[in-house]
Structures are given as C-alpha cells and as structure tokens.
C-alpha cells in the first residue's frame, strides 16, 4: 500500500463519531469487497476466454485493495492492535458484516456472475460516490480511488449483460436465469442498518436506501437493451449479512480462506 494510504488509515477519528461504530462500518464496506473478491477468485483458470481472465482478476484485485484499506482502518480505529490480516483471518463467520449478495457462489455460471456483478458494482459505485465527502479520511480516500474502479466494473458487467441478453437464444436464457437467481438478494442492499443510519447523520457513512435510485437507473438502461426483464420476485426476506447472519456456503468459503493462516498461527509470510 502506498504511503498516502497509510496516512489516511492512521488519521485521527473525526469528531463526534463513535469509534466502535466507525470500525463496524469500515468492516461492512470492507467485508463486502473482501468476500466478493474471494468469490471472483474462483474464476481464475475457469473464465470463458483468456481476455476475461484478465478482466475478472482486475476486478478482484481492485476490490481486494479496497478491502485491505477498509479493514486496516477498522483495525486502527478499534484500537486493539488488529491489522487487516487479523481481521480477515481470525474472525468467525458471525463477525463478518458483508451483504449476502457478496458471498453467493455463482457456481461458475457466467450468466449469474455477470448479473451479480452488474448489481453489486452499480450499488457499490453509488455508495462510494456518496462517500467521496465522508468525514472519515480513509473512507473518502477509498471512495476517491474506488469510484473510478467501480465505474470500470459496472461498465464491464453492462457490456456483458448486453451481449449475453442480446446474443444467442441460449445466452439470453442463461442471462435471465442469472438475474432471477440473484434477485432475492438485491433488496438487502438497500436496507439501512442502525450503524449506517447514525454514521450517515454525522457525515461519515451513507444511507444505502439512497442508492436505490441509481441502481434502478442502471438496470432500467441496461436490461431492456439486453432484451431482459427485471425479475418480479417479491422482495425476499432481507437476510442480515450486516448483522453477521450468513449462508451455509459462507462457512465453507471462510474455512478455505482462513485455512492456511489458522494452521500456522505464529507464522510469518
């Protein structure tokens, strides 16, 4: 990480902000990126074409970079000496704060992968755009860099959504199926957690409910051109990834991710 980012990580906490809540919020944003990047890594050597290997790895690397900064900030703000790796590798499942969409496996179905990426990146772009003015210097720095990155991710997903939706009959079916499969997890993205509400009031966080308009706008532009329809499934029970409630698959993801680190607790890497 660059020297600049190190400076923002250790910058003083903005006045009037609860440090525990700030740490939690950084974990929310950081875990979204970390867990989603972890899922994207499943595509390495499995992508539909070599050019897509590069693109998907780029997206994963960008999100991993954001995760590292946010987790580092969370650890610093919490003040118990935890760094990004302690947070990534020593927490239990119920301590992770990512939304459910981030942890879903697409089972190497490119249609699902693109549908998830379109929604996730549009949503995260909207969040980061509003966080450019966050009073927390680290969050603002992540937003500044992240807005460019997420724009790229969203545009990549949109290009593929068009090609899959308006490609062959088979790709159309699979693109629609992908959209249908992830749709139950979209509503959760806009649910406001108490921590988010309070931190939004003090200018540090953003209320995710405010990102619905931008996400809808992207879908309204992309889906019709892709000859796809927005799924009509009723809003599923908002599962609370933000409260540490996760899917069964998340346990397996975490076990794999943390396996080497936990096997060698005193190790240096």
């Amino acid at each position: 990480m660059s020297e600049n980012s190190a400076a923002e990580i250790t910058a003083p906490i903005p006045a009037g902000v609860d440090t525990a809540e700030l740490a939690t919020y950084c974990l929310m944003l950081g875990d979204d990126a970390l867990i989603y990047a972890q899922r994207l890594c499943e595509w390495v050597s499995n992508a539909p074409e070599l050019e897509e290997e590069l693109a998907l790895a780029n997206i994963a690397l960008d999100l991993l970079g954001q995760a590292r900064m946010l987790l580092s900030r969370a650890g610093h703000v919490e003040g118990k000496g935890k760094d990004e790796d302690v947070l990534a590798y020593q927490r239990e499942a119920r301590q992770f704060r990512n939304v459910t969409l981030a942890e879903l496996s697409d089972e190497l179905d490119f249609g699902r992968a693109i549908a998830a990426l379109l929604v996730f990146s549009s949503w995260r772009l909207a969040l980061l755009t509003k966080l450019l003015n966050s009073r927390d210097p680290a969050i603002a720095a992540v937003a500044a860099k992240g807005v460019k990155e997420l724009t790229y991710h969203r545009d990549y997903a949109a290009r593929w959504m068009l090609r899959l939706g308006d490609g062959t009959e088979l790709s159309h079916q699979r693109a629609q199926a992908g959209l249908d499969a992830i749709w139950p997890y979209v509503e959760e993205l806009f649910a406001t957690h108490d921590v988010e509400r309070r931190l939004a009031e003090v200018g540090v966080a953003v209320d995710p409910a405010q990102t619905r308009g931008e996400v809808d706008a992207v879908l309204a532009e992309v889906l019709p051109r892709a000859t796809l329809h927005r799924p009509q499934a009723p809003a599923a029970q908002s599962t609370s990834g933000r409260d540490g409630v996760h899917t069964h698959g998340f346990g397996r993801l975490l076990a794999e991710m943390q396996s080497v680190a936990q096997q060698e607790p005193e190790a240096t890497w």
């Binding site: 539909p48 074409e49 050019e51 590069l54 693109a55 780029n58 460019k148 790229y152 990549y156 290009r159 090609r163």
Partner: protein, 122 residues
Amino acid sequence: MTPDIPPIERAERGNPAAETPLSPLNAGVGSGWGLFEVFVRGKRGLNHVHVGSLHAADAEMALHSARDLYTRRNEGVSIWVVPATAITASSPQEKDPFFAPSGDKIYRHPTFYAIPDNVPHL
C-alpha cells in the same frame, strides 16, 4: 522479382469456404472473435506504437481487452484497435512472394497454413 499473383489466387486465399471446419472446440475464437491490432500512445507527445494483437467479438470489447492486456489499465493512455483485416501493408524489404509487395495483408491468412503434427521436439 516477385511474380504478379493473379486475382483468382487472392480470392482463394481469403475464401471463407476454405476455412477450417468448426468443431465445438473451435467455437469462439476463430469463429467470430476477430483479430485486432493494438496501438498505444503511452503519454502525451508520443506516437501511437503497435504493441500486439488480441481477439474480440467487436471493437468495443477489443478496446477494453486492449486496456487490460497492453496497458494494465493505465488510465490516460490512448489506445487504438484496428481489425487486422483492415490494415493494408507495404513492406518492400520483406520478400515473401505470397504477399504482393504493396497493398496486401499484414499476416498470412491462418487457414492457409496447416500446422504439421510431426515437427520433432526441439
């Protein structure tokens, strides 16, 4: 002096009917993902330079793949992608009689040359 190649051979060379029949393994690259040549200007004040090629289904995809592959997503770098078939070449020093000295393609058409399986190990 290179012989003048009559038009019929030129047509044969570019004849899609002569293309390798598609097997499922061939689907994709080679069956619609055309070859694009990539030119990059690294910074202001420099020319665009040819850096290589890639395959894409259309120009927009080619542009973005070129950014990933040849610039590692360096922003501000100017990229041109050109279908290889759109390039007309003149290379009088290069002497393959397969090519007309001016106004010809940059590479041999891929279906013109079959890779023999029996070339021994290096």
